[in-house]
């Protein structure tokens, strides 16, 4: 017994030593200054996907003339934000990194990790003036710009199946009343009026974003996100919820939308096979449909702006979605001038042309002159005009809020849609974010 307990004490002491050792090792990696960063290179981290082709080309162009070389780090898919969060305050942090603007960088700004781009813009006003303002503003936080647009814009549009619409003698709705009338006709014919992959939750969220924008105007969400939670309880907010409820009660989405996903091909297939007539989705829906059935995407896939709501405060030209992706620069970078010069390439003709070639739609002012080089010029022109004319381009709510609010937000959105929460419950959940 005695030897046993002595052995136990000794092993516990050993565990404590290991723990302290690990803790000290953890501390030493925590202090990262410019001096500890690599020499003669800057690291640029991007989300790993098909668009990397353009980024590789731009980096190669840049490295031809620059003494400090750019190294492109492609971080694979879905876990991007998690990985960024774990490395951004360490020595391994990239100098320049891809993000979604808004809430995706807000915590980094608060922690003082990012470089405000005011000085860059003072040295080269083109870093601001050559981009569409509604897009550029997405990465402005507390009045300071923190990001430069670097991929394509992804507005949310109302897609339709032209064959189904023609067979039922309906045209794409331009007003809310027309939408409700179309829903009624389609439902009577046994067709799901609107495909919705509700299990993904962000798909359902898009309906809230547009209806709130049309009914209450973009100001309501702006106030909500800047901390004025009372707006969720306002008359305009309740009116918007009423519109959502009307659409659901009209049977617009069928009954099993919470078991359907967009991400596994469920809802796009409903639209493509004519079992549903409409789907509200981001511009990437075109390439989703194209990879499944190129003929359908080219001939039968229709797209329009979200219908206007008469008497609402929001402009019918307003758009929601992902304005663009952005490059932000960390404060600890050793070569800010190199980062600045690299960012300048984001409005170059070469970047715009390369992006158009793979189906992305950049948001620079010179994009317009290359629209006819796009894979589908009509689709590219429609989107560009939509975004350019938009008085407001609301970033998706789940990206606008910091990550901590993401899950409760999407949960509330799903619960109000399927009836688990009533109006008061939804308002309370939004105020708790």
């Amino acid at each position: 017994m005695n030897t046993h307990s002595r052995w136990l004490t000794r092993s516990l002491a050993g565990a404590a030593v290991i723990a302290v050792g690990l803790a000290m090792a953890g501390c030493s990696t925590g202090s990262s200054g410019a001096s500890s960063r690599p020499e003669n290179v800057i690291h640029v981290a991007v989300y790993g996907d098909a668009t990397n082709k353009v980024e590789e080309q731009i980096v190669a162009t840049f490295n031809k003339t620059s003494d400090v070389k750019v190294i492109l780090d492609k971080i694979p898919g879905a876990d991007y934000q998690q990985k960024l969060q774990t490395i951004i305050s360490t020595k391994a942090a990239p100098d320049v990194f891809f993000n979604w603007g808004g809430g995706s960088i807000q915590d980094f700004v608060k922690a003082g990790l990012l470089l405000p781009l005011d000085d860059f813009i003072a040295e080269d006003p083109g870093l601001k003036d050559n981009f569409l303002p509604a897009v550029f503003n997405t990465a402005v936080i507390d009045g300071k710009p923190y990001g430069v647009p670097m991929r394509g814009t992804q507005p949310v549009m109302l897609f339709n199946n032209k064959t189904v619409l023609a067979a039922n003698n309906i045209t794409p709705p331009t007003t809310w009343e027309e939408l409700l009338a179309d829903v009624k006709i389609l439902k009577a014919k046994g067709i799901t009026p609107i495909a919705l992959g509700g299990a993904d939750q962000w798909t359902t969220l898009m309906w809230y974003e547009y209806i709130y924008d049309r009914v209450a105007g973009p100001g309501l969400f702006e106030k909500a996100i800047s901390g004025d939670k009372s707006v969720w309880d306002s008359a305009a907010s309740k009116k918007a919820l009423g519109y959502i409820k009307d659409l659901i009660d009209a049977g617009a989405f069928g009954t099993n939308f919470d078991s359907v996903k967009f991400t596994d091909g469920g809802s796009p297939t409903l639209l493509r096979t004519g079992r549903a007539a409409f789907e509200l989705m981001g511009s990437w829906n075109y390439s989703t449909q194209q990879s499944a059935d190129p003929d359908f995407a080219a001939k039968d896939l229709g797209y329009t702006a979200f219908p206007a709501i008469s008497g609402g405060e929001g402009d019918a030209g307003n758009v929601v979605g992902n304005p663009n992706n952005f490059y932000s620069v960390i404060k600890a970078t050793r070569y800010p001038d190199t980062a600045r010069d690299f960012l300048k390439l984001m409005y170059s003709d070469e970047f715009v042309k390369a992006s158009m070639a793979i189906g992305n739609l950049p948001t620079t002012t010179n994009t317009e002159q290359f629209l006819d080089t796009a894979a589908d010029p009509a689709y590219a022109t429609f989107q560009f005009d939509l975004v350019k004319a938009a008085p407001s381009f609301q970033l998706s709510w789940d990206q606008a809020y910091p990550p901590a609010a993401g899950t409760p937000l999407k949960t509330a959105v799903q619960q109000f849609f399927n009836g688990q929460l009533d109006e008061a419950g939804f308002i309370q959940a939004m105020q708790a974010l």
């Binding site: 030897t3 052995w7 092993s11 050993g14 565990a15 290991i18 723990a19 690990l22 925590g30 998690q82 969060q85 774990t86 951004i88 305050s89 915590d107 980094f108 922690a111 990790l113 509700g198 299990a199 939750q201 069928g254 009954t255 099993n256 939308f257 919470d258 078991s259 359907v260 596994d264 469920g266 297939t269 409903l270 079992r275 990550p403 901590a404 609010a405 993401g406 899950t407 949960t411 799903q414 619960q415 399927n418 688990q420 929460l421």
Partner: protein, 305 residues
Amino acid sequence: MTTLAPRKRSARSGGPSVGRPGAVWAVPATIFFALFALVPLIFVGVLSFTSWSGLADPVFVGFDNWVKLIADPILTKSFGLTGLFVILGLITQTPLSILLGVWAAGHQKNRAVLSAIYFVPLLLSSAAISILWRALLDPNFGIPGQLPWLFGDGNLFGKQASAIAVLTFVSMWQFTPFHTLIYQGAARAIPPVLYQAAQIDGAGTVRQFFSVTLPQLRNSIITSGILMVVGGLTTFDTVLILTNGGPGTDTTITAFYMYQKAFRAFDFGQASAIAVVLVVIATAISLLVVRLSGYDKMQSAQEGI
């Protein structure tokens, strides 16, 4: 010669340390356990008293996380759901795997072939199984779409009861083969003389099963039960892929809620507090099961044979 050697060694060592290796033998396992279980556990305990998003240094906030934890209705609900999953897992998997295990213990050719096929789910990863069943249960293009008389509109993932039923069913499909394997081994180890004696006493197949097989499987039932409870408490991947905790928070079990707090909300302090609670509950349940079942007394089921 070879039969003599061990006898000689045991005769030499003698005394109270017969067959017991010294403490040194436990060193590798202890170091491993300390490094990969105890140290992280200590860190998690410390983190539960801090606020940390992974960005700056953790800030000590006292009992804030714990106070929030007590007031969190989703967490309270998740305990109930976790308990429900554990119980549903136990009552669906145990009878099925005992019956299959005892059946598979027979030495007939067809049983060997069928059990080999039946063990296939054991070879698949949980993620693969979840993706497979998600596709099979798609309301429009899966089985429910073809059998509307059985599944209605096929909204399996949109209602709490059916979502829980799906998760329970998929766990059963995935884990029953494993527990069957345990029971197959245990049933084969039952001495045939017990059955011969029972037959002489006039017991039929059913009576033999309840009076000989089941009592002999007692320790295996406890082992398998503990594995099911611990497995149920840590179920995560099937929930993540099949229901994502939904509809709403209706299948957000505690382990999944911890993941949401840590890796979606980046609230590592709160997540650590949940982790500590999970560790305490899992340990308590294991100890309780061991105590109540008398497993710690290490009684043999074959005493008196």
